[in-house]
């Protein structure tokens, strides 16, 4: 899935910067959850999943431990379901660990209104009662519509509501880059 129809106005993160940013986030996550039991890294579909996989890989290599992981699809939990849009594509969630008592780090590409995280938290709660949920996003572009506060942020980017922020990832877009553009 490439981001089509986006007129790029500036590049806010290149591949090298993304790598460094992810490394720093990984250190922060380890520092924060390192001592906790039952840690799990959960990516929000679709791009959050790839970022979560990278974070997971870095944590496992740095700490030489196996960490639980999963993916979560929020299509069925969206609050804009009946706003006249087409039914969003829904994909399977996959949480192969016990959510009860887990310390979960939710991972997404861009934090914007906060509605996606809200939906992801609701979805997680349907699987059990986690001990805690933390939230990591590669980019925080502002304009929150819900009282949501991230725990780990890669980069804060000033944007207007008219602009779009796209995180491009090697896994799906052949390159690592974060761009701001006009829709």
């Amino acid at each position: 899935m490439k981001r089509k129809g986006l007129k790029v106005t500036k590049v806010v993160m290149n591949a090298e910067e993304m790598e460094k940013t992810l490394n720093r986030m990984v250190h922060e996550i380890i520092e924060r959850v390192g001592a906790k039991p039952h840690v799990a890294i959960v990516g929000i579909r679709t791009r959050g999943v790839h970022i979560a996989e990278r974070i997971l890989d870095k944590i496992e290599r740095a700490e030489k431990v196996k960490v639980a992981s999963g993916t979560i699809d929020i299509a069925l939990y969206r609050d804009d379901f009946f706003k006249g849009l087409a039914s969003p594509e829904v994909g399977p969630s996959n949480l192969n660990f016990d959510v009860d008592g887990a310390n979960i780090v939710l991972v997404d590409d861009v934090l914007y209104t906060g509605r996606t995280v809200r939906a992801a938290i609701d979805a997680l709660m349907d699987y059990g009662r986690p001990a805690s949920i933390m939230y990591a996003a590669l980019v925080d572009r502002g304009h929150r519509e819900l009282p949501i506060q991230p725990d780990f942020i890669g980069k804060t980017v000033q944007t207007t509501r008219d602009e779009a922020v796209a995180v491009l990832l090697k896994e799906v877009d052949d390159e690592d880059k974060v761009v701001v553009g006009e829709r």
Partner: protein, 304 residues
């Protein structure tokens, strides 16, 4: 898509999209809390004017797991017994602004008529001899899960073809996805010119089952038959009951399906129905996920 009235008017991509969407819903049915909030505030009326266990329960389970509000009406206990016409009943239901009507009726075309006079989405849960689209979708989902594909398969449909809406919907679906469908049954139960739907017809069940990947048995529908279709159940079973001898002609990895309810010992031997190759109860399990996908796609806003 606003209504699901039949498979005949769906194209291959629409069919595959529904099946693909159903995969995500199957996961919900395996959770401890089998419920998502997606259709919160949506009202669905289940109107079954014919007896049903599986389909009625399956729709209701699917609706409740999507958090829809469900209402059930049966003919007995409704004002239809006082002489109200179906159209008037429908208009009165419409006045209570439901979002969806799931309808089963003995008269072919009833869902299509209701779709014209009502504003809500209409889902055909079986109309007469005509179509039973969600059954064909759940059958296809089951086949795809077992065989990893829906094209290039040989699928044998055996039994009472002419009274079977399941057969009709399956024929439309499986030929659209590129499989070979072979029908066999008593000549009295074979619709005239059914070859025009792109299927092969034979009177010999062995020939139909030969090298088949899927053997789908159909129920003899005594409630719809005029009584002159075959001499008696024993005579029917002698020629068309799925036993070991007949199944031996199929591929060694062939699966056995039946839409239910089954007449044990008439269409299918007990031990085959309960045996390793039977996926009959998996069909039922998959039915919930498929119906959740259909409701999700129909009721989730204005999609194409």
């Amino acid at each position: 898509m606003k209504h699901l009235l039949g498979i005949e008017n769906l194209n291959r991509d629409q069919i595959l999209h529904i099946l693909e969407t159903a995969v995500s819903f199957e996961e919900i049915n395996q959770r401890q809390i089998k419920k998502v909030p997606t259709l919160k505030g949506i009202s669905v009326i289940n109107f079954f004017a014919e007896p049903s266990t599986r389909t009625r329960m399956s729709f209701e389970v699917a609706e409740k797991r999507l958090s829809a509000d469900t209402y059930n009406i049966a003919v007995s206990g409704s004002a239809i017994t006082k002489g109200e016409t179906l159209a008037d009943t429908a208009l009165n239901l419409q006045a209570m602004s439901p979002d969806c009507l799931v309808i089963r009726h003995a008269v072919s075309g009833t869902p299509h008529m209701l779709a014209q006079i009502m504003d809500c989405s209409v889902v055909n849960a079986g109309d007469g001899f005509h179509e039973h689209p969600t059954q064909a979708l759940l059958d296809a989902y089951t086949i795809q899960k077992k065989k990893k594909r829906l094209d290039g398969l040989k699928i044998a449909l055996l039994g009472d073809i002419s009274h079977s809406r399941v057969a009709r919907s399956n024929i439309h679906l499986l030929t659209k996805t590129g499989s070979q469908v072979v029908l066999a049954g008593p000549a009295t139960m074979m619709p005239r010119d059914v070859e025009k739907l792109g299927v092969t017809v034979t009177n010999d069940p062995k020939e139909a089952v030969k090298d088949a990947d899927v053997v789908m048995m159909l129920r003899i529908q005594e409630e719809r038959e005029s009584g002159l279709m075959y001499p008696d159940r024993r005579e029917y079973a002698k020629f068309f009951c799925l036993d070991d001898k007949l199944l031996a002609h199929a591929r060694p990895d062939a699966i056995v399906m039946h839409p239910g309810p089954a007449n044990r010992g008439v269409e299918i031997e007990d031990h085959i129905m309960d045996g390793d190759r039977s996926v009959i109860l998996e069909q039922v399990a998959n039915g919930v996920a498929v119906r959740m996908a259909v409701l999700y796609l129909l009721l989730g806003g204005s999609n194409s």
